[in-house]
């Protein structure tokens, strides 16, 4: 265990890494955005692997590269089994149209739930191993020797007995024609040689010279541009509009109705955007008219009084709490609240579409190419088989690009005008028409009683714990299938799987939607539920007069030893318990999400009410690691994403509309506020394949709030932190 960037200690791995780095010949293969056909002339070994005569190996990626490094991680898994030379590897997107035509040959191409590696590593290993065996079989056939006498390494097949050797580029065409009698076994992770190394990302270079193709960079011949103006109240629509003045402006082509509003089409984006802003529209605000965040807040609080559905029940927490106070018991109760949050990816939503009589082509960054294909077919009124989705690099996703509202706009407009159209949502549209992290109210009640510990004597125990959440249903907001009575996994993840020992436990949920669309926001339900659970556990530790780290440790010890291992690493590396200057303090939190346990210790300073997070220590227990550098990057990213929201972000509603418009009213953490972040691996190997894209986010809000309590005695029960006045100490 160590700082991940210094992870490579073993000499064998160190050697491999050094030889790969020295080469420096990594390239990225994304198809040119307006290429009509795949650019590869090589032999295809299955739908995933193409080997060219020049030895280049193109590995197809069926997940979206949105910053998490999947264009590096998944090729590493394929290359591990393929035994190809990593220096010759290129990555390119798998095509959604082929996935449709070839009966889901790429599986689900949706990217989310931090599941790209853990959900596809076995399949990719098998595909890589299979291709390797076909290459070996091709060589064996040429040499007229038994396949078992040959082996593969570094893009070559060797016949040890005769010393003969052939390259993959030479063999690929023959290998493509070979069918195996049986599929080869795949490697156990313990015998990986390439996977597990902190290799450099394949997509770095084009992201440092302006060449990386994002959806917004698409340029097609004869292309028009479009900007939209949408009803400020989500769910509303156009009542009437007057486009006469706008149509007279230089370069303006037309005004086209789209779901929720109007698109202005022009020969330049700037002209379209200015014209859209000038368009005179009367809106019908619909059912959301007149609502506000304050109203929602009252409604969610009231919903906690029931009725609620039971998500988990052990013993009878309600009766135990109702019978209080028993002798020696201490009742702790708190109401927590979180606001709507925007995803705000750096690249505002955009989509370029070309609709002809027999084809729909779409260029965008999407987290869900399969669904994008269906959406495009529907918007164009054509069969799905006529659609081609050209996925690009995503300028951030964080869940927002799982549902491509912008695609429906672009296809609608491109069909209407009969020319290719690049449609861009301005930052203001992106922020005011997001599908947000839901607002929620949560209540926690607990009874602490005196228990006995063999090691520590008399200690507090949780006699009863009752957690309730009132939150919007994401699946209902998306119009997905009707839910079983009143519970969805997204609402209770991080609550129902509470790891702490409680003699009686009740977790309840009530789903309540408003007109504000909601969706998956990095770490989904854990983003609010970890804040509540880990803040409330801290409250209980203080009520019991115990150290928050030791209190957690004791309550996890019997049933969740893996949590204890992760918690210990965070506490030890952070120097938990060592003295800090006045005005500074530490807070700790631990949370499991998407198969990974993450504990964080935040070192915080509060000065004249201003919160500054100086250092964050991250211990991550994700089990097997494909690329520790990517794990480290995602922990840093997750911390900063969560911290940005916790410190000062809220999407608020007034008269049914979102009040925030841009980064001036929805502030982002910047360099000067960014803490030092140290990441340590805990829980290596075993049976665990945890995700890494999201689990870094949930613990940071409670870790920081717990530190603020340690410094000021003020308990933050509503986010963002900036809503609480910390200038005076309690």
């Amino acid at each position: 265990m160590g700082v991940l960037s210094r992870e490579v200690g073993l000499s064998r791995r160190g050697f491999i890494l050094a030889s790969l780095s020295a080469a420096g010949g990594l390239m990225i293969g994304i198809r040119p955005v307006d290429a009509a056909t795949p650019d590869s002339a090589g032999a295809e070994l299955g739908a995933w692997i193409v080997i060219d005569p020049d030895e280049s190996v193109t590995l197809r990626v069926a997940k979206s590269e949105m910053g998490q490094g999947i264009f590096t991680a998944l090729p590493m898994i394929l290359a591990e089994e393929l035994a190809c030379d990593w220096r010759h590897v290129r990555a390119e997107y798998a095509a959604a149209s082929r996935n449709l035509a070839d009966k889901q040959i790429y599986g689900s191409m949706g990217t989310g739930g931090s599941r790209s590696v853990r959900g596809s590593h076995e399949m990719l290993q098998q595909i890589g191993a299979s291709a390797r065996e076909r290459l070996i079989a091709a060589a064996a056939k040429r040499w007229q020797v038994a396949q078992s006498e040959c082996g593969a390494a570094n893009s070559h097949v060797q016949h040890a007995a005769s010393g003969r050797r052939l390259s993959y580029g030479t063999l690929a065409a023959e290998a493509a024609a070979i069918t195996l009698d049986q599929e080869p076994a795949i490697k156990a992770p313990e015998s990986f040689t390439l996977a597990g190394l902190p290799l450099a990302r394949l997509d770095t270079k084009p992201k440092t010279n302006g060449q990386a193709p994002f959806g917004i960079d698409t340029r097609l011949p004869d292309m028009l541009y479009a900007a939209v103006t949408l009803c400020p109240v989500p769910g509303g629509k156009v009542k009437s509009y007057d486009d006469s003045a706008v149509l007279a402006r230089r370069g303006v082509h037309s005004v086209v109705p789209v779901p929720g509003g109007l698109a202005v089409v022009a020969d330049r984006f700037w002209r379209a955007k200015e014209a859209a802003a000038a368009l005179q529209v009367q809106w019908d605000p619909g059912a959301g008219a007149g609502t506000s965040s304050a109203m929602f807040r009252r409604d969610y609080r009231a919903a906690l009084d029931g009725p609620l559905e039971t998500a988990r029940k052990e013993g009878d927490a309600r009766a135990t709490l109702a019978a209080t106070p028993p002798t020696g018991g201490k009742l702790v109760e708190a109401l927590y609240e979180v606001p709507h949050l925007a995803h705000a990816p750096m690249e505002p939503l955009n989509c370029t579409a070309r609709v002809t009589t027999d084809k729909v082509e779409v260029w965008l960054g999407t987290q869900n190419p399969d669904m994008a294909l269906q959406l495009a077919a529907k918007a164009a009124g054509m069969a799905p088989e006529k659609v081609e989705i050209h996925n690009c690099f995503l300028g951030g996703g964080f869940g927002r690009r799982s549902m491509n509202d912008e695609l429906i706009h672009a296809v609608t407009v491109a069909k209407a005008v009969g020319r290719p159209v690049k449609l861009i949502w301005t930052r203001e549209t992106d922020m005011q028409h997001d599908r947000y992290r839901p607002q929620a109210a949560l209540r926690a009640r607990a009874l602490l009683t005196a228990g006995e510990s063999a090691a520590e004597g008399s200690v507090a125990r949780i006699e009863a714990l009752h957690l309730q959440t009132a939150v919007g249903s994401i699946t209902r907001s998306l119009g997905w299938k009707a839910l079983a009575p009143g519970i969805e996994p997204q609402a209770i993840e991080g609550l129902a799987n509470l790891p702490y020992a409680a003699a009686n436990l009740l977790v309840e949920c009530v789903l309540k939607n408003t007109h504000i669309p909601i969706m998956f926001w990095r770490s989904v339900g854990s983003s609010q539920n970890a804040f509540v659970v880990e803040s409330f556990i801290d409250e209980l530790a203080h009520a019991a007069g115990e150290d928050p780290y030791k209190f957690r440790r004791r309550l996890l010890m019997d049933s969740h030893s893996n949590y204890v291992k992760v918690l210990d690493v965070a506490a030890e590396k952070a120097g938990w318990g060592s003295p800090l200057p006045a005005g500074k303090g530490r807070g700790i939190a631990i949370h499991e999400a998407f198969g990974t346990i993450v504990s964080q210790v935040a070192e915080v300073a509060v000065d004249k009410g201003q919160v500054r997070v100086e250092r964050v220590v991250v211990a991550v227990g994700c089990g097997h690691v494909i690329n520790p550098r990517l794990v480290q990057m995602q922990m840093e990213s997750g911390v900063i994403y969560g911290l940005t929201a916790a410190l000062g972000d809220a999407i608020t509603i007034k008269d049914g509309a979102v009040e925030q418009t841009n980064f001036d009213s929805y502030p982002m953490l910047r360099m000067a506020e960014a803490p030092r972040i140290e990441t340590y691996l805990a829980l290596s190997g075993g049976k665990r394949w945890g995700g890494i894209g999201e689990p870094g986010t949930p613990p940071i809000a409670p870790a920081v709030c717990n530190a603020i309590f340690a410094i000021t005695g003020k308990r933050i029960r509503a986010l963002p932190i900036s809503d609480t006045d910390l200038t005076s100490r309690t």
């Binding site: 770095t204 541009y225 750096m346 990213s637 900063i640 980064f663 000067a672 030092r676």
Partner: protein, 151 residues
Amino acid sequence: MIAVTVNGQRHELDIEAETPLLWILRDELGLTGTKYGCGIAQCGACTVHLNGAATRSCQVQIGDIDGAEILTIEGLSADGTHPVQRAWIEHDVPQCGYCQSGQIMAAVALLKEKPDPSDSDIDTTITNICRCGTYPRIRMAIHRAAELAKG
């Protein structure tokens, strides 16, 4: 007609004087490495060098800069080997990558002013937003670029 020189090449443009430089670069000249992020000079994704100074191009009207010299990410180096680009690659800075052209242009300008910047110089000068949170790596890469530039 308004004339500007971008990456050493002179362009004459018949366009509304109030058009932001950002959209001139992206839509007129096809230089899409410079990104649109907010349109109000908050995020810095559109940072270019205007007559040598790091500037948020979404707030510069083309009519105000007739005759100006502009450098974009595409013109920073012929082969992506400017010391800042090399340092960015060494530290694998980008994640989604969308903000990085602007970050790199801001860092290049900082190093021109202060060849050996302190952490506090970086804090005050690099105010571009990165939603992926690459700040710790940007900081390391700027220090590394300072070393590389010294040779």
